[in-house]
Amino acid sequence: MAQIDWILYLTAATFYAISSVIYIYCLVFKKEKKLNFAINSALLGLLFHSVSVALRWITAEHGPYISMYEVLSSYAWVSVALFLLAQQKYEKIKIAGFIAMPVAFLIMGIGSTYSRDIQLIPASLRSYWLIAHVGFAKLAFGSILVAVGIAALYILKERHSNRSGTDENSFYDRLPELKVMDDLMYRFVASGLLFLTIMIGAGAIWANQTWGRYWGWDPTETWSLITWFTYGICLHLRMNVGWSGKRIAWLIIFSIFVLAFSLFGIGYVYSGLHTSYLTS
């Protein structure tokens, strides 16, 4: 079964790669009609990926949150699933896949470099709060990744509008209006902040059950708070200080590095209570 889930993983990664190439091709050469191929590739990839994750879950007898291979695989899965749902609801932003799909493919690629050996779940990780904690971390990452895709589109569209005015038949002008895209990134970042809050809350309860304190300024905890503050500032600037459009778009793009470091990078820089879980 382990071999099958790996083959499915590679198949999914291949479809994500194809989807990424088509997305980038569509963006560069303004071939909107080809976007359906990209979406279908992403869908096919997601299908294989879902079966791979499910098989791994059954074989390992625990969810995808113990080894880095499982963790990264599930992050990619949630990101692709959330993006496909988002583009289903807001059809005009489907080109935002030119960010979401390459990132998902990159995550799959990094995941494939880690050991695929099944690790037994340590007693300290047998908690429903852990499932909520990691589940919402993945949702937060997925939401914010979609926001980053829209932010990048916003910047491209704005640059195009400033340079060549508007033309109803142009690729960029068939994207949603700038104001709508501004609202969309705002909404996805807001969802991300909500998921981050639940992630931190569930983590605090889990920490209290395991270590007897809900907060201990461990580097992972501190960075999760830094990330929460970063997105808090982002929304505060948007809501109360009048920042919108390009400035917020750049801030959203920059902020995902803080989030990515907080989720994936901590284990390689700091030692702490979480880090053994985050590097193996």
Binding site: P122, A123, S124, R126, S127, W129, E177, K179, V180, D182, D183, L184, Y186, R187, A190, S191, L193, L194, T197, I198, I200, G201, A204, I205, W206, N208, Q209, T210, W211, G212, R213, Y214, W215, G216, W217, D218, P219, T222, W223, L225, I226, F229, T230, G232, I233, H236, L237, M239, N240, V241, Y270, G272
Partner: protein, 469 residues
């Protein structure tokens, strides 16, 4: 202080930019705090190693309090300023939110409606009253509360969403206050129990104890017994849970609670939480007189481990001058299950060295029920049990912090997903037709609201075009 200075201070503290600057400083300090070793997070020996390796940095960082950054004056001062700033902001936010919540009817003229992002002019042959009634119906069926004033309509939904922002900020204050309240009244300590042993929840029965300034030695003094220890516990579903201890808590001889403590499974009683911690073996050594009567004896918790993972301890026997060191291990892995004949028998083995006033008088191995002659007495190894340390925490702020986290999550849902929406209409009867000025807006995601607004307008159009007056 004159009123102008007061206003300036108030304006400074209410400033939205101040909050951002303070949060930014907290972020910077937090990053610094994750890079500089923090005393509170490291074992003393690890911290001291860093200090010895970086003496110059250590002097500087200790001097400015950065080795205890998260409880340093600078960090707490910034937090306090943010706290005060939040209080000032809440006052303004709350009054504005309540004002908007209570103003139920905001009828607007067509001039105002025409300025909205979403506005439409509809014409119908229906009479003014009939048109008002149709619009009212559509708005209500879309979840709006509708109000009329002559020929004007005002409708709104999700109006309670305006409370989201003040609630969010109140929750932040609540969480900070709850954690401060919890930490100043907090008690944490390690209690060591040998299987079957009963200890009272009292200051002197903790091996290590840390009491917050407001805890006031407020120990409940109930009795705790370690009924049984399981080195490899499996729960009722057969899931391996690692080491676990079955604790019972009694008051005045009456058993009040029994529970098994293992990782992620605590026992709570009267505000106290018991968590599993380290464990080991405790052999029973009894010193007998030559006539077989007991001179002295006790279980000795072998709490240190040597490089091979065997438990070791040092002991002395009263004022006899006899002291010694022991090392104990089991001939099979520690297990809670009965050893079957096919498995290695689980037998405790004791390596013992005994000294009488510094002179070695015994060095040998003992098995269960062995006795050896020590001076004019006999030392017997008669039993072995597990001991376990329990980490005991009393933090009355925890439940408040959890409540705060729950409320803050709810407030974020209110802010971003219960968005107040308003629709305004003015209906004017002109000659043989009725003109409807319709407009709508949402407090947030205004341009995304357009889709919902267009669907509303289409519904109204459909209703107005159906039938005749």
């Amino acid at each position: 202080m004159d009123s102008n200075t007061g206003k300036r201070i108030s304006a400074f503290l209410k400033s939205k930019k101040l909050a951002i600057i303070l949060i930014f400083i907290i972020i910077l300090l937090s990053i610094i705090g994750t890079h500089i070793p923090q005393k509170s997070q490291l074992k003393p020996e690890v911290y001291n190693t860093w200090k010895n390796n970086h003496p110059e940095e250590a002097v500087i960082f200790e001097g400015i309090g950065f080795t205890n950054l998260f409880s340093s004056v600078i960090f707490l001062g910034i937090l306090l300023l943010l706290f005060i700033s939040t209080i000032f902001c809440i006052k303004t936010m709350l009054s504005s939110a309540l004002r908007r919540l209570n103003s139920t009817s905001q009828f607007q003229s067509m001039a105002y409606i025409k300025e909205l992002e979403n506005n439409t002019v509809l014409m119908t042959r229906k009479a003014q009253n009939r048109a008002i009634s149709e619009i009212d119906d559509v708005l209500r069926s879309n979840g709006y509360r509708v109000f009329h004033d002559k020929n004007r309509i005002f409708a709104q939904k999700a109006r309670h969403g305006v409370l989201g922002i003040p609630l969010f900020h109140i929750c932040i204050l609540f969480i900070i206050l709850a954690s401060v309240y919890g930490s100043i009244g907090r008690m944490e300590g390690d209690m060591r129990l040998i299987e079957g042993q009963l200890l009272s929840e009292d200051h002197e029965n903790y091996m290590f104890i840390n009491e917050g300034p407001f805890f006031n030695e407020n120990h409940k003094k109930f009795d705790i017994t370690l009924e049984k220890f399981y080195p490899d516990y499996k729960d009722e579903t057969g899931t391996p849970r690692g080491p676990a201890g079955k604790l019972s808590i009694s008051e005045n001889g009456k058993k009040m609670k029994t529970g098994v403590v293992y990782l992620n499974n605590l026992v709570d009683y009267d505000g106290y939480t018991f968590l599993g911690n380290v464990y080991g073996l405790a052999p029973l050594l009894i010193l007998l007189n030559q006539d077989g009567t007991v001179f002295s004896g006790s279980y000795i918790a072998a709490s240190d481990t040597d490089s091979s993972g065997r438990y070791t301890a040092y002991f002395d026997i009263g004022d006899t001058g006899i002291e010694g060191g022991l090392m104990v291990y089991m001939t099979a892995n520690l297990t809670s299950e009965k050893i079957t004949a096919s498995q290695t028998e689980q037998v405790p083995v004791l390596f013992l060295k005994v000294f009488d006033r510094g002179k070695e008088i015994y060095d040998g191995t003992m098995r269960l029920n062995d006795t050896v002659k020590i001076s004019d007495k006999y030392l017997g190894f008669y039993d072995i049990k597990y001991w376990s340390n329990f980490y005991v925490v009393k933090d009355d702020g925890t439940i408040l912090v959890y409540t705060g986290i729950g409320l803050i999550t709810f407030s974020l849902v209110m802010i971003f997903f219960i968005v107040p929406k308003r629709v305004y209409a003015e209906i004017i009867e002109e000659d043989d037709e009725t003109k409807i000025y319709l407009g709508g807006r949402a407090d947030k995601f205004r341009f995304l609201y357009k889709e919902e607004y267009c669907s509303l307008v289409n519904n109204i159009k459909e209703r107005l075009s159906n039938g005749t007056d």
